[in-house]
Symmetry: C2
Subunit: 475 residues, 2 copies
């Protein structure tokens, strides 16, 4: 063992509950042979969700492009043959073969070469088109997304980190984050040596944001000498799962404008809606030119859940100029990105596929639609199952229109001397259900559950949770 | 446009020449229709190198696992058929199908789920086995690599950044880097607010390292108040391409031991040898327990050149304790990694394949060996072609045993009033050859060329370079 050394104090002090003590305990129990249901993280495929065939068929061909011609020959061979167990749908649709050839040509040299630092240009163009469609930006509006203001990233976390690293210039620089929050933000602000400034969405009003709550958080921090530079909003929320209403989105923009703040909009759950409507910050911003917006999206969530492939993008609007230079913020994001060379190509292509779903009335389109409905429909059913169980638990309340893949109930009746950490640990030990306590997201007397296990697993474990709970709260 | 803002000064001031003004000019010329040969970066597949079939066949199946059973059925169908243009080798070998099934089972839920923060355990085990085989570590030696001290990373750059981020605790903390150096290091040290301390390998003696050069760099910086914590060594060298001799490796270890420094060994070119022998730092360290070692490897280089897939690993030996805590350095690397969730799964699996080449005498093994020899043999021939061209250039000298994929010639006769930047820009404009000037790596009057274009391209451009050069140096 070497002598001791000093290390970056920010990393030493940083905390990250999603992979903290409770999941670590769960991993240990699992090693010991216990049946553990991992609801601590939004990792759908780990809990059995099937990937979208469309994505995987294309990636598979791009990794082994010689198969494209072979697949065409195989299909002919099959059509001439009669003596086989193979069925027509064991063969890849011509539409997929054609599309794979098209994408391969656009990459230039396939997936093994570094791309531009910002990512493949054709992917950034497709993202811009997606944003324009989603938000109804017509060419004459002057609001079209610009591929040069888009960066491909290794998941949305990577994009958030890049922006915060650049924004935090000195130790008095602060960033406002909602409480409860996804601990990526607290951890990253700490890592870059900035100040975390908490603001409080209104839990009992569907986690809405109102101007007073934003102002009072701002004013208090400013009085303490914090130079606030940006506000993070997560919509749909993590850990709350709540979909933000349009009024709240506009409140944030008006506030950011008045206070000269940039907005970091974490919109990775924009496809995970079960009823409510998603209003993007880009759309709500409209032609407001004085507020810088950094919006994040990812292939890890939605109905695709391709967490392991680490893909996502960052779109910048109204990029600010950098004081004392002729450069703007995006110029520096580019320099910063260039040191990492590029994000991984499979993640980039999956991002392309995410923003370019199949259209028309082909069988490919139909299969895609069926798979998508299946995933989102099942997620909704599972959210309802968990909500129903909460009704049977003494003093458990949950607020907000359900989005994302989480529920974040409040535990009103924890016995004196206990806390949410102890509750989640006991829940894990009793039932094998691994959740994360609210304090891990900055708000005590809560927990976050990702409603991702199979319905069968939920049917089995939820009654045991109800029983555990009602016993626990009796003390 | 928003108002101006202040940003992280370190990122503002950082430089990164490999994607700097010369390549940017080259990209512009290319857009204008010029034929540009990109030798500014080690990006083999961008210049036509074929990926290893073995890697791609397996990844392709893992992305679309239903194909594994289908491939078996197809093979039967083909064997029964006579009327087809398909040949036996259009089908995937059973060995590959079996192996893909095995790997898929080891991943648990396939490539779409997040992995452990350190990466798949089975991949880390395979890396440990690879290190043990490479360095001849037997179980009884006490030197076996430990999977828990290994982290999968998105390319080696990612690993280097993580270590430097943790090591640099305050602005007087310094890291020694060789000059010339790969600008990842200067950029990253700057980014994390540390001090770059230059040391100078001996160019005219094959870029060897001697104790005096290390000591004088150390002493001078220490006198200026720098607290030096680590030394970076790149072997085989980048940009020099030179393979470090065994004596130099031992000199570094003795120096690091005496001065209490950690060693960061960038060994990503360990398979790119054309004559010389590679001595890993792990092997040279042997049972020396007082020197912390961080060694880096990558799928981007070698004979595989899978840059776009962003895979690699970091192995830690003799992890130091962190002052004032019960934690060691690896504990903090884990916490830091957890905030990024995990590196991309395809990069992880490719790293697995890199450390687990096929063995035995199967056709798969034979094809792999043939492809590997083809790539390395061609790289060697191309290095020789470029070296031969240098001999025809007035006042051009190149030193060291060729490794990696670079040559770094010294330009002895640049006319007064010119410099290597101007030379490389003029070379680009005259011939379309994009190189990077030596000053981009910290050493003027040099340039770096990646010898990756096809032999045909080199045959065409090298005579034009010779002509350009001999005219340029006449002034």
């Amino acid at each position: 063992m070497s002598a001791t050394i000093n290390v970056n104090q920010n990393i030493l002090e940083m905390e990250y509950a999603v992979r903290g003590p409770i999941p670590q305990k769960a991993a240990k129990l699992k090693q010991e042979g216990r049946n553990i249901i991992f609801c601590n993280i939004g990792n759908p495929q780990a809990l059995g969700q099937e990937p979208m065939s469309y994505y995987r068929q294309i990636i598979s061909l791009l990794e082994e492009p010689r198969k494209i011609a072979r697949e065409r020959a195989l299909k002919e061979l099959f059509e001439e043959s009669t003596a086989s167990d193979l069925r027509n749908d064991d063969f890849i649709a011509s539409e997929i073969l054609d599309l794979s050839e098209e994408i391969l040509a656009k990459t230039g040299k396939g997936l093994g070469a570094y791309t531009e630092s910002k990512g493949y240009f054709f992917v950034r163009e497709a993202i811009a088109d997606f944003i324009n469609r989603r938000d109804g930006f017509a060419p004459e509006s002057g609001l079209l997304a610009d591929p040069e203001q888009i960066f491909l990233t290794d998941g949305a976390s990577d994009g958030a980190k890049r922006v915060l690293d650049l924004l935090i210039a000195k130790e008095t620089d602060g960033v406002m984050i909602p409480i409860p929050q996804y601990p990526l933000y607290s951890a990253t602000i700490k890592m870059f040596g900035g100040v975390q400034v908490n603001y409080y969405p209104d839990e009992e009003h569907d986690w809405a944001l109102n101007r007073d709550a934003l102002e009072s958080a701002y004013t208090q921090a400013a009085e303490e000498g914090v130079n606030i530079k940006a506000i993070v909003v997560i919509n749909p929320g993590n850990p709350t799962g709540a979909i933000l209403d349009e009024g709240s989105v506009h409140e944030v923009i008006a506030f950011a404008k008045e206070r000269g703040l940039a907005i970091i909009a974490d919109e990775v759950y924009q496809e995970n809606l079960y009823g409510g409507e998603f209003i993007s910050f880009a759309r709500a911003l409209g032609d407001e030119k004085s507020v810088a917006l950094f919006s994040l999206h990812s292939i890890s969530k939605g109905f695709y859940g391709e967490c392991g492939h680490r893909g996502g993008y960052l779109e910048v609007r109204n990029t600010p100029m950098v004081a004392g230079t002729a450069l703007n913020f995006v110029d520096l994001l580019l320099k910063q990105a260039s040191v990492s060379l590029c994000s991984n190509t499979v993640g980039q292509i999956m991002t392309y596929l995410m923003v370019s779903p199949p259209n028309g009335e082909s069988s490919v389109r139909q299969q895609f639609a069926t798979e998508k409905e299946e995933v989102l429909g099942t997620l909704y059913e599972k959210a309802v199952m968990v909500r129903e169980a909460f009704k049977k638990m003494d003093g458990v309340e949950v607020f907000g229109k359900t989005g994302a893949m989480y529920l974040f109930p409040r535990l009103n009746k924890l016995p004196a001397g206990t806390d949410d950490f102890g509750y989640c640990m006991a829940l894990l030990e009793e039932t094998g259900l691994c959740t994360v306590n609210g304090s891990g997201f900055g708000l005590k007397n809560h927990l976050r559950i990702a409603f991702l296990p199979s319905k069968e697993q939920l049917e089995e474990v939820l009654p045991r949770w109800v029983e555990f709970h009602n016993k626990y709260v009796k003390g």
